[in-house]
């Protein structure tokens, strides 16, 4: 390609990154804004005040920690169940496992609203009052498909005879699993846990149907459009972004070594 072409490609790519980052940059910028009134949406002036009191908005802070706890619990539950499903699908030759796989993929290919409607209907049908339990169940459920598919892919990537070799060398099945299978699965487990965590932490649609009185962070943010957009929203979002960026950098070398 000639130089002009390369230049055009570079400019166009910068434009694409620009569209991706416009709302992110605005969010970081507005964490340093000194808003007038209840809505931190118009730039007034620079201040460090918001960063000195990141937890000043009590309702926001509570919602933030609710989501944090929920995301950890849902991710662990989903990875545990998803791991068992992946072992069953990948190891034991279950009949119809191909159909089960397609069924697993179905929640991934449908918008969240489909699962949300279905779950609300289920909980109403079995008279389960909406609250912490229904919230945890529904979050684990939409994470489950992702966890099972990631772990199954990881499991398919290594040689099953390794386990047999361990057993031949006298390791009981449980020890073989713990010393051989589990370490090999570890990167997949980590990836699945992080993905499930971020899916649960960000979920708005399913939560709005199944949370009852519980206020998660996304539910709080949705309400904020009418109530109050405090600068602490942007401060906490910037902090989350920094942590995500750090995790992403940590995850990148393993990406390289794989390919």
């Amino acid at each position: 390609m000639n130089r002009l072409g390369s230049l055009a490609l570079g400019v166009w790519s910068a434009l694409a990154y620009g569209l991706l980052y416009a709302p992110v940059v605005v969010t970081v910028l507005f964490s340093f804004n000194a808003p007038r009134g209840r809505f931190n949406l118009v730039w007034q002036g620079f201040t460090l005040e918001n960063w000195r009191h990141p937890l000043r908005d009590a309702a926001l802070t509570e919602a933030f920690f609710t989501s944090l706890g929920l995301a950890v619990a849902a991710a662990l539950l989903a990875v545990l169940l998803g791991g068992l499903m992946a072992l069953a699908l990948g190891r034991a030759r279950v009949r119809g496992s191909r159909s089960i796989e397609l069924l697993l993929a179905l929640p991934l290919t449908n918008p969240e609203i489909v699962l949300a409607t279905a779950l609300l209907n289920l909980f109403v049908g079995i008279d389960l009052p909406r609250g912490p339990l229904t919230l945890l169940l529904s979050h684990s459920l939409f994470c489950l498909s992702y966890a099972a598919l990631i772990l199954k892919a990881r499991l398919a990537g290594f040689d099953p005879t390794l386990e047999l070799a361990a057993q031949d060398l006298g390791a009981p099945p449980l020890a073989a699993f713990r010393r051989v299978t589990l370490p090999l699965l570890a990167p997949g487990i980590l990836a699945a846990t992080l993905l499930c965590f971020s899916l649960s932490f960000d979920d708005y649609v399913v939560s709005s149907f199944t949370a009852g009185e519980i206020v998660t962070l996304p539910l709080y943010l949705a309400g904020a459009f009418q109530r109050e957009i405090s600068p602490q929203i942007q401060v906490l979002s910037t902090l989350v972004l920094l942590v995500s960026a750090a995790l992403l950098v940590l995850a990148t070398p393993s990406r390289q070594s794989r390919s």
């Binding site: 570079g10 166009w12 992110v24 290919t109 449908n110 209907n121 943010l221 990148t252 990406r255």
Partner: protein
């Protein structure tokens, strides 16, 4: 899976009263005709918005994926990470940021005004009475921002599978850069293109947040309608019928895309 199946009998029922979600099954197929008649235009609008956003996204995503794969060099992992990073900011927080950017006192409208484009964009229907919030354009912009990574990643994955020796061979056979793009890169990137379109179109068509916070009452999409039917109007059977119509349309699209191949054969990230 079970909850999804349970929607079928619900979609053929009738509400017991106007004040609860309890229903009675009576095989009421008319629910489907009614929702198709009443909400057909919203269904069309949802897929229309999603299609426009996906098309806009592709115009940006394809060259970006190409640049990352063939010009990225050792920066490739970083460039891919930078595509993923914005998705880790909640889409609600991003909607709040768009409200600042597109608001009446925001920088985008100021720029449009400075360029003297207000009249033109108003005439094109991009602005409504000189405003950008609560318009279809705002919703589509929000959707495009959300779906961009889902277009870029499968494209990069598909392009990574292209053997560089093929391009060398094309070069040896005196194919110019344009010809080797048209005859080598483009056909081999098609699986990524298909997967990307699917991964973008579906969540966009079923999106709740962008139409709700960036659009006005005339930009509500299908998921907002289901939400409203179920939680406000307490019309669970109609909500279920509409959900199943949406699911059927999407499953059809997925099956057409897969055409008998396994889900793991798609170049998913």
């Amino acid at each position: 899976m079970l909850p999804l199946l349970a929607l079928v009998p619900l979609s053929l029922s009738e509400p017991l009263s106007r004040f609860g979600l309890d229903t009675v099954f009576n095989g009421r197929i008319a629910n489907y005709l009614e929702v198709l008649q009443t909400y057909g235009p919203i269904l069309v609008r949802s897929f229309g918005f999603a299609a426009i956003a996906t098309a806009l996204g592709l115009v940006l995503a394809y060259p970006l994926a190409f640049a990352i794969r063939f010009r990225g060099g050792r920066w490739q992992p970083l460039l891919i990470g930078l595509v993923v990073l914005p998705s880790l900011t909640s889409y609600l927080v991003r909607a709040i940021a768009w409200t600042s950017l597109l608001g009446d006192n925001g920088p985008v409208l100021a720029l449009v005004e400075a360029l003297g484009l207000t009249g033109v964009l108003d005439g094109l229907g991009v602005l409504r009475d000189g405003r950008l919030l609560n318009t279809a354009a705002a919703v589509i912009l929000g959707l495009t921002n959300n779906l961009l990574p889902f277009l870029v990643l499968p494209l990069v994955v598909a392009m990574e599978r292209i053997d560089p020796r093929l391009l060398e061979a094309a070069n040896d056979l005196h194919a110019g850069p344009l010809r080797s793009f048209v005859q080598v890169v483009w056909p081999l990137s098609l699986p990524g293109l298909g997967a990307g379109i699917l991964l973008s179109l579906i969540p966009a068509a079923g999106d709740v947040v962008n139409p709700l916070f960036l659009g006005g009452p005339n930009e509500r999409m299908i998921a907002n309608t289901i939400d409203n039917l179920l939680l406000v109007q307490l019309q669970a059977p109609r909500a279920a019928a509409l959900t199943l119509v949406l699911m059927a349309l999407i499953t059809l699209a997925v099956l057409l895309q897969l055409r008998g191949r396994g889900i793991e054969e798609l170049p998913l990230p």
